[in-house]
C-alpha cells in the first residue's frame, strides 16, 4: 500500500498553456494555445498526442520534429516535467507558458526524440543506473521480463501508482536506510518494498543514493523569487549526476542539507571532506555565520514542487519523494560565494 507522500508525488501535475510557435503557424487566424495538465513525474514528449490535435490544422506541410521551449530555452525532454518547472521557474508560473515547435529541431543542442520509445529508453537507462547505485549491480532490471518492463513503463506513463506498486518489488531495490528511517519503520506498520534485499544491503557499509542535482547560482542576494533573473541557456545551470554516499553507522542520520552540501563541497569551504574519505557529514553547519556568507548559501531546494526545509531527514526525503526511476531530483538555488 503506497503511503500518502508517494500518492502526492504521483498525483502532482503542472497546468501548461502551450503556444504554437509563430513560424509553424500556417493558418489564419493563429490557433489559440492548448491547455494541458502535465504529470510531474512524466515527460513532455508523452503529452504530444494530447497537444497535436489542437494544432494539426495549422501546421505547414511536411514532417514533424517536435520540441518545446520556455522563454527561448529549448527544453530537455528527458528531464521529468516537474523538475523542469521547479528549476526554470524560480517564481512558479501557473499556467506554465510553453512554446511548441513542429519544425527546426535544434539537434545541435537537444538529443533526438523520435517517439515514445526514446522516452522509455531514457527511463529504463536511468532506472538501471539508479539500481546500479543502490544495489551495486543492475541485474534485476536486466533480468526483468520484457512484458514486466513494458508494464512498469506503462504504469509510469499512465500515472498508475497501483500498477507500479505491484510491479516495482520485482526490481528488488535495496531500501535506503539510516538510523532515522530504521527507527521510523520499526514503529510504523508501513513497509517499503525491497525487504528481501535488506539483509544484503545491511551488510554493505557504504550506502549510495541516486541523486540528480540541478544547481542555479545567483551572484546577488534577492528578496523575492520574482527578482531572480531568468535563465537564458542551460549553461546557467550546473547539473550533477552523482550519488550521495554515506557510511551506515549506528546513531547516524543525515539531513537534506548534509546531503546537498556533501555534493557541493564548495559550500562548506574549509570543512570539506578530506580526500579519499566517504562523504559522510555529521557536523553542524551552525558555526561562523560570516564564514557561511563567504562560502555561499543554499537559498532554496525544491523537490516535487515542495520548498524543502533543509533539516528534514534525508532518508525520509529519498524514500518518499523520489521519482519512479528511483532518482531523487533536487533543484537548488544558491547564492554564489563571494570572493
Amino acid at each position: 500500500m503506497a503511503n500518502e507522500a508517494v500518492k502526492y508525488v504521483w498525483e502532482g501535475a503542472i497546468p501548461l498553456q502551450i503556444h504554437l510557435h509563430k513560424s509553424d503557424v500556417a493558418s489564419h487566424p493563429a490557433p489559440p494555445p492548448a491547455l494541458v495538465l502535465a504529470p510531474r513525474i512524466g515527460y513532455l514528449p508523452l503529452l504530444i498526442p494530447h497537444i497535436k490535435p489542437y494544432f494539426k490544422d495549422s501546421l505547414p506541410p511536411g514532417e514533424d520534429s517536435i520540441w518545446f521551449d520556455y522563454k527561448g530555452v529549448p527544453l530537455k525532454w528527458y528531464i521529468p516535467t516537474g523538475v523542469l518547472f521547479d528549476l526554470l521557474c524560480a517564481e512558479p508560473e501557473r499556467p506554465w507558458n510553453l512554446t511548441i515547435h513542429f519544425r527546426g529541431y535544434p539537434s545541435n543542442i537537444l538529443i533526438p526524440c523520435e517517439g515514445e520509445d526514446f522516452v522509455k529508453w531514457n527511463f529504463v537507462n536511468s532506472l538501471k543506473e539508479a539500481q546500479y547505485i543502490i544495489n551495486g549491480n543492475c541485474k534485476n532490471v536486466m533480468n526483468m521480463s520484457q512484458s514486466d518492463q513494458e508494464d512498469l513503463w506503462t504504469s509510469v506513463m499512465n500515472g498508475d501508482l497501483d500498477a507500479y506498486t505491484k510491479l516495482s518489488p520485482k526490481l528488488k531495490m535495496a531500501t535506503i536506510e539510516d538510523d532515522f528511517s530504521r527507527k521510523a519503520s520499526l514503529s510504523s506498520p508501513q513497509s517499503r518494498q525491497g525487504a528481501t534485499e535488506m539483509d544484503v544491503a545491511g551488510q554493505v557499509k557504504t550506502a549510495r543514493v541516486p541523486v540528480r542535482l540541478y544547481v542555479r547560482s545567483i551572484n546577488q542576494d534577492f528578496e523575492n523569487l520574482e527578482d531572480v533573473p531568468e535563465i537564458d541557456t542551460w549553461d546557467d545551470i550546473s547539473y550533477l549526476n552523482r550519488p550521495f554516499e554515506f557510511l551506515r553507522e549506528e546513531g547516524k542520520c543525515f539531513t537534506l542539507r548534509n546531503a546537498i552540501e556533501s555534493l557541493l563541497p564548495e559550500f562548506i569551504g574549509d570543512k570539506a571532506q578530506t580526500s579519499g574519505e566517504e562523504r559522510s557529514k555529521d557536523d553542524d553547519t551552525e558555526e561562523a555565520d560570516g564564514l557561511l556568507r563567504e562560502m555561499g548559501e543554499i537559498k532554496l531546494a525544491r523537490i516535487q514542487g515542495i520548498e524543502m526545509k533543509l533539516e528534514i531527514p534525508f532518508s525520509w526525503v529519498v524514500n518518499n519523494l523520489m521519482n519512479p526511476e528511483f532518482y531523487l531530483h533536487i533543484s537548488v538555488l544558491v547564492k554564489a560565494p563571494q570572493r
Binding site: D235, I237, S238
Partner: protein
C-alpha cells in the same frame, strides 16, 4: 578503506581516475607520438565559483582528422589518422591519405569522462565536418574500422548511444561498456597471478587498449608496461 590508489573490483574512485588519467596522458605522449596528446580539462564550474579542493576533470583529445580509406583497400584495420599540424610538433604522416566517399574531411573529438554512478571511465565522442556540422552515427560508423565495429557492437560489452555530454550540454555519442568492471577484473587477474595488484596508473591504459579499438585508436604495446 580504499585510498584510491588501488583498483578494486574493476572500478575506480574519482581520485583514482584523476591519477590514472594523468598517467595515461603521460604514457600516450611518450609512446604514441603519431597522435596529438590528451589534455586534462578541469571541472571548474562556471556557476560554482570556488574550485573544488580535489580537482575533478576529464581527458580530451580533439580535432582528430580522419580520412577513411575506400572499402577494398588496406588490410590494416587501424584508422587512417592524419595529425593536425601545430607549431609545436612536426606532422608525422603514417597514413595513406585517401578521401572518404563524401569527399570531405571528418574531425573527431574524444573525451574520457568518469562516471560517478558506475565508477568506471566512459568514452564520449563526436564527429563533425570542417564546417562544424555534426556527423550522424551512420556516417561515423563508415569512418570506424569495420571489422572492430561490427565485432564490438554485437558483443554484450559495448554499445553506442547518443546522450547529452555530462558537462557540455550538447549531444555526444557515448560508448557505454556494460561490462567494464568485469573485463578490467579479468585484465587485473594477470597482474594478481604475477603477484601484484593492478596499479591505478595502468587502469586507463588497460581500459583504452580495449575501448580505443572501437573508435580505431590503437595504443602501442609499450604503453602497457
Amino acid at each position: 578503506m580504499n585510498s584510491g590508489r588501488e583498483v578494486i573490483d574493476g572500478r575506480l574512485t574519482v581520485e583514482g581516475f584523476s591519477v590514472a588519467a594523468r598517467a595515461f596522458a603521460d604514457k600516450w605522449k611518450t609512446h604514441n607520438q603519431s597522435l596529438p596528446p590528451w589534455s586534462w580539462v578541469p571541472l571548474i564550474n562556471r556557476t560554482l565559483l570556488l574550485s573544488n579542493q580535489q580537482e575533478e576533470g576529464y581527458l580530451s583529445l580533439e580535432n582528430i582528422l580522419i580520412l577513411s580509406s575506400l572499402e577494398e583497400s588496406t588490410e590494416d584495420e587501424s584508422l587512417n589518422v592524419a595529425t593536425e599540424c601545430s607549431e609545436k610538433e612536426e606532422p608525422v604522416d603514417h597514413t595513406i591519405l585517401v578521401q572518404n566517399q563524401e569527399n570531405e574531411a571528418h574531425y573527431y573529438d574524444f573525451h574520457i569522462v568518469y562516471s560517478a554512478s558506475y565508477k568506471v571511465p566512459v568514452l564520449y565522442f563526436r564527429g563533425y565536418c570542417s564546417g562544424g556540422q555534426p556527423l550522424s552515427l551512420d556516417v561515423i560508423k563508415k569512418d570506424l574500422p569495420s571489422c572492430s565495429v561490427s565485432l564490438l557492437l554485437q558483443s554484450k560489452w559495448t554499445f553506442i548511444t547518443q546522450e547529452e555530454h555530462p558537462y557540455l550540454n550538447r549531444p555526444w555519442f557515448k560508448l557505454h561498456p556494460c561490462g567494464t568492471e568485469d573485463w578490467i577484473k579479468l585484465l587485473s587477474q594477470s597482474s594478481i597471478s604475477a603477484g601484484c595488484q593492478m596499479p591505478v596508473e595502468l587502469y586507463l591504459v588497460s581500459w583504452f587498449s580495449v575501448v580505443g579499438q572501437v573508435v580505431g585508436l590503437r595504443i602501442p604495446l609499450e604503453m602497457l608496461n
